[in-house]
Symmetry: D2
């Protein structure tokens, strides 16, 4: 089924959720100024899916068209369609679409449970398929939670003052879990939240080696919304002052699981170290690779903004500034190219087509470098005003006429149009975007470490030995 954005919002209104902003529980969370932009971004994913065939393919699992983000990828084409969708979303939203981790989780749990069942004779995969069917049929929006609050990193998970997400009790009908996940993008506005471990574990740490799905009916889950400057601006309102008024800054939360009961039918890995490693490996490549496509979309948005700003300032004819935009396009296409290349150079494992791991990690590294370069270019060619501008309210305030006339520039743009651009670019420069680019899916350092372990250096050494008769 393909529901509309409006349907999704209505469904969301039906959920009872403990969501906190600035230390207080929020009533009617859907319309809270710090949450509504996230809801809008989610809603857009439903709308866009309906516009393009490849974003809503036919699923054999349920015999109908479903959202691409709820699909298992069977072919390189599936992956590429997903990356196209992702790039388009990032370009259009200029913020997180929040659902990529859900899709990553689906494509990681699927093969990991399949392998686990083959190895152990369990039925985790069947359980998972049952939930997946429901997700596809009801067109649920899914996210995934990985990052535990890590505490003192010189200590092992069980030595922390507060343990990582772990099994508190094993019951006949399910398990009770406790722990907290941080940096969870949009979890509060999703229908399903997959919970995966934050790392692999050693023997004796099995209590942490769990994967399950949380739903709105689970009790004891608390969402604490992050607080950034953009979010503070959103609380003050205005038509465009926060920059990306409709979709907002990427909004994450800390999700606290306070003795939450999860029935067995939603437990997919239970105290299995190897399956944990599998699911994390699949997830990491999947997420880093789609992250490259995401960065491409973000850079597209920045390039578009830069081009409009040049026009608004009467500078569109300056070759050296146009060249800076071309540099942005180059890194955008590079990042997306790597993702597409990883898709076509990927591999099949347990019925899932996975992206090439080497390229997925390379994409993360190039993506961050490209994002940073693009951001600097954007700031540079947009001028200092994007960090020093008066507000929308000044334009409309007591001396608004004076303020407005001095902020006007090219006649092709009204003052308000130019100021919308200024605030949009200020948003790019001062929101959590740079942090998100660096840390989303793990930092570049993490990608490099992964590469050290998976790179086939022997093959490269052999080429040299052959060339030199060594």
């Amino acid at each position: 089924m393909l529901i509309s954005g409006e349907d999704y919002i209505e469904r969301l209104r039906g959920y009872e959720r403990e969501i906190y902003v600035l230390g207080k529980k929020v009533e009617n969370f859907v319309d809270h100024p710090n949450i509504r932009p996230t809801v809008n971004a989610f809603a857009y994913t439903f709308e866009l899916a309906k516009l393009r065939e490849e974003y809503s393919p036919y699923s054999e699992l349920v015999g109908e068209k479903v959202n691409r983000l709820n699909c298992v990828n069977k072919t390189p084409e599936d992956l590429i369609a997903r990356y196209d969708y992702q790039r388009e979303l990032s370009k259009k939203l200029a913020t997180c679409n929040y659902r990529c981790t859900g899709c990553d989780a689906i494509n990681a749990i699927y093969p990991a449970t399949k392998a686990l069942d083959e190895r152990e004779g369990t039925d985790y995969h069947k359980r998972f398929l049952k939930l997946l069917k429901e997700i596809q049929k009801k067109d649920y929006a899914c996210t995934a939670a990985l990052t535990d609050v890590k505490g003192d990193r010189s200590k092992r998970p069980a030595e922390q003052r507060e343990k990582f997400m772990h099994v508190v009790e094993k019951r006949e009908d399910g398990i009770v879990v406790s722990g907290a996940k941080i940096a969870q993008s949009g979890a509060f506005a999703a229908d399903i939240n997959f919970v995966l471990p934050t790392q692999t574990f050693k023997q004796g740490e099995e209590e942490f080696a769990i994967v399950f799905a949380a739903t709105p009916e689970d009790e004891g889950i608390k969402y604490v919304i992050q607080n950034t400057g953009v979010q503070a601006k959103q609380r003050e309102g205005g038509e465009f002052e926060p920059g990306n008024i409709r979709y907002g800054d990427r909004t994450t939360c800390m999700v606290i699981f306070d003795n939450v009961f999860i029935p067995w039918e939603r437990v997919f890995i239970f105290e299995d170290l190897r399956a944990t490693r599998d699911v994390l490996n699949y997830f990491a490549s999947s997420h880093r690779c789609v992250g490259a496509a995401c960065k491409a979309g973000f850079i597209d948005s920045m390039a578009g903004a830069a081009s409009l700003m040049l026009k608004a300032n009467g500078l569109e004819g300056v070759a050296v500034l146009q060249q800076r935009i071309a540099e942005m396009v180059a890194v955008s296409e590079a990042a997306f190219g790597i993702a597409a290349g990883a898709a076509v150079k990927g591999y099949n494992a347990y019925d899932i087509w996975h992206p090439n791991q080497l390229m997925a990690n390379a994409g993360k590294i190039i993506g961050v470098e490209g994002f940073t370069k693009s951001l600097v270019n954007l700031i540079d060619i947009s001028g200092g005003i994007i960090g020093t501008s008066p507000s929308e309210f000044d334009m409309k305030g007591e001396i608004g006429d004076k303020v407005g006339k001095y902020l006007s520039a090219s006649e092709k743009f009204t003052v308000e149009q130019r100021m919308k651009l200024v605030k949009f670019i200020e948003f790019w420069a001062t929101s959590s975007h740079l942090v998100g680019a660096i840390h989303g899916g793990g930092s570049p350092a993490a990608a490099l470490i992964t590469l050290r372990f998976i790179m086939d250096i022997k093959d490269k050494e052999e080429a040299v030995r052959e060339c030199l008769n060594l």
Copy 2:
């Protein structure tokens, strides 16, 4: 005279000023949450001056000790002392100290008026010295305004819908000026604001070629405070939520001059194209060079924060992370080294010791690259939490006990201490700092263009010709 920070604040309270925030005129501007941090930063400059001999040298002009920032530089040592002072301020404040442009203006107007008088037989220099004495005696805080709102950049100043700062009327007792300056750091909290042109002009554009000083008694000046996310947070209060609670984000304003009368005694250049070029040349080198020292201080602060954050996370023993801090120190020392080198390789012109122009511009370019690299390093090694953290209010709110326990890490830091660090680093990553680093004193592109015109490429060509017998 050397007044205290408290004295400065008291004096400020005596000024009537039209200051607007979010479109509304502010009463008791000194204590407004968006202005007080700036006032605190200014106040600290007075306090620090008294702590070190070289920050408050003896002035022959007035026969007493004065603030280094109100001094004319006569020797390389003067310049170096100024750069030390600047670096220390940036390191301690983690934001703008707001007075560097005032010092730049003093050291630009002094020689430019001297040259002008020698050339034209005028008495501008004498006028300027009179004001300078007053500044030194009363220990005024000065800033300088250069950047006009530029409108459509494909047009000349006079073709704009709103003209650049210009002479509206020439009277016997002074001139009447109109125009608006934007991106003015802290102008609203200064005692004296020097107003300089934003660029050089051609013949026929003399009406823009003016330099003067504005004081609190001038009528018709309106300050419109910029609005960033950090400032929105400041309006909501909290003990540390905005990150740099005491000194805040760099706060700029648009300054509108609405038919303001300036008496002749405060007019220092009047419709003179050549003196305008001189004053801008002196100012640009002075500002770009001190900017390199400023970036060094900022990077010092980031390096300190990074080091503390590693400790708070239990990661201080990881060599590869320490190396990232060493990279930050390298660029900090590089930026400061260039400033010190420019001082010692500077030149005397009209009794003022100016920094080496080539190095001043090189310092700008290296400074921005270094700042960007340091910011990326800081974000990378601090972890994703610095872009996704709950707020201070969550820690103290309805479920504060749960939030707090999950945010704790190394036992060497309380949760509050760690969260202060998190919010401080979030401040670095999402305030207007990156924009400020790129655009303060003109963008790197502007520095490159300057270099193209002042570099002695002939000398370098000669070396090659000699080597090759060309």
Copy 3:
């Protein structure tokens, strides 16, 4: 037909060619120390083709298996197979394989002549197909010549002291052409050399708008071999002193056409401006994209050498050095990923599957950055010895025993093995590789200019306008 490397060499011996080294015509050019390494590299392309199915696909044109480099690409898979082949060649040869431009030319002339014939009713395409069949059947090695000696670049082609390649005479049976091409990689050792224009032309410059094929039987062609330090070393012999003893430094030549007669059957574009533009567009994307795959292979070779060198020095256990190798792998995979992505995101035009133009140009830019970074990493972790080492002859000379004992390191490598590595890495660092990486297929600047013209900035602006309701 698939001939062997030995067959190719024998065929080459049958050609009469005017080839000059250091100003003197060379007898028995095949075995000249500056030419033989190039011949070996060509020969390896024949050998490798036979080892893998996808490097020698079935050609419908001639009904047999042919070398991938003589194929027209019909599908994304064709392109990807070509990129795989290219990367493998670069990795194994550590130098140019010389045939990429031949393949680029085939895939550019094919569609351009097809379009030209459709437009003008001519029969150029048929002529081309006839030659292509011969190439495939006889398994010829092809190269392409584009870069004219450009003279004074502030002047148009016809204003130069020596004109660009141009038509001297139009005869019934063909044309007579004159001009010189420079930077021609391996042209002297190819069977067929396609000659394309160096740029697009304006009306009135039709004499330059020509494409043709030169063969060994053509009279008046002179090859002047370039001279680099590696080539000077090759003339002195030794078993491994020049570093890449078997395949050598990339060896280019200047090719002078001195009133050369070309029969009509080998003329494919004749004084047609539009077809010239087409052929150059197709060629540029094709070449830049395969160039990214080529850089990937080169970086692979450098990474392999770095890894071996660490082992030879007893440093293989140092994490921070391994990380530098991982960085090299990251850029290698990124460059190749972009090429693969460009293939899959390409387009069909006139029966040829072309790579995505945006990505092809992005690949060039990222490829050069990655190559430079990798080279610096390689130098850094290999130690200063790779730029200061005694020679092979010292090891074997009068005090060879003493020299040898001091040059030994890890017991896992003999001194000779370590010295081979040292000289191989010295070769990477001091051969023409860096210049080749930057300029092969046009400089990064050229790629950026192309991007400025082909990027769809409107689409990106639209996304921003939609987001902001502009």
Copy 4:
């Protein structure tokens, strides 16, 4: 005394030296094509010293003017004069001047022996002063040897198959030493060669903790000259083919000490671990800092060459290419600025003015980045010809008229002038310069490690703690 370059060469002719090139002992080494360029570079240092007052200051030690490179630095001005001299030499020679390490050694042994004597009551300092006087009076050219062939780096010095430079025998009149130093720039053409340890040592490794001076009269020293492509070209002659015909590629050698007797009067540290650490610390800062000035001079030469090449190609009017030269100037001035800044921010220890250690190491890092960037810029804007050009001999050979006419460009340059430029830039791109920039004075990685240990991170943490009330 200040002798002439000619005097120096005559003196050199008087030395009996065992020097090997390509495995054979060289007769009349001074005029060997691989040695003469180095001799010319040395000779130029004598000539330049006489041209400028500050390059040949008055020495109180001997009561006459002496070469700046044989001076002890007592003031910041001394250091700056040295850096000026260094930059000028690098700019003019476009290669190593070979004497910087000699000056570094003098300024490291002086304070280290002074401290040693104060601590131990020895008379090493007096011995050193005696030699220093002789050096100054006779105007000797000095170099220093540090880098031992390191063997297997996972082992300690005494575990190597061949030990590091060590004491073989302690006699009444002196010591006998054995070992080999590699990467020794120009040691074969110096009058005095200071020998310092390659690293600090642990207790039990005292046999390596020695510093002494070697002179031409010492027996058992063998010099094995390195072999690069440029050197191979030099052996073939020509007027400009090797690029930097007069001064050549930086020429290093391996120096083998085969049971060499050193009298006590030339032993300055004998089996003292602490003095060894001191001398290395002083040396490292001194060398890294002068290295930044050196890179500035090299970049100057590259910028000059780039500018001439643009003119030779008729491209001098293209703004975007001029900007690339401005980027080169920016990094040159930055590198030099850091050196000058380090001088003025240095410190006195044991009567010597040392550069600021932090900045010295920062200078190394920025210098290498700047050099690499400049090299890429130089290659990019000079065009592919600098890696693919025919030789000088082709221009003058059998078809020289044809070759020449096609290589001509702007009428402002003859073909020969343009080709000299081409070969000079090829020299920059393919000589050992890049390796030398990275490894001279230790790699950037070594500088970063040093920074980790000397950076005052506590001070930076304190600033943050104060700002946040931590």
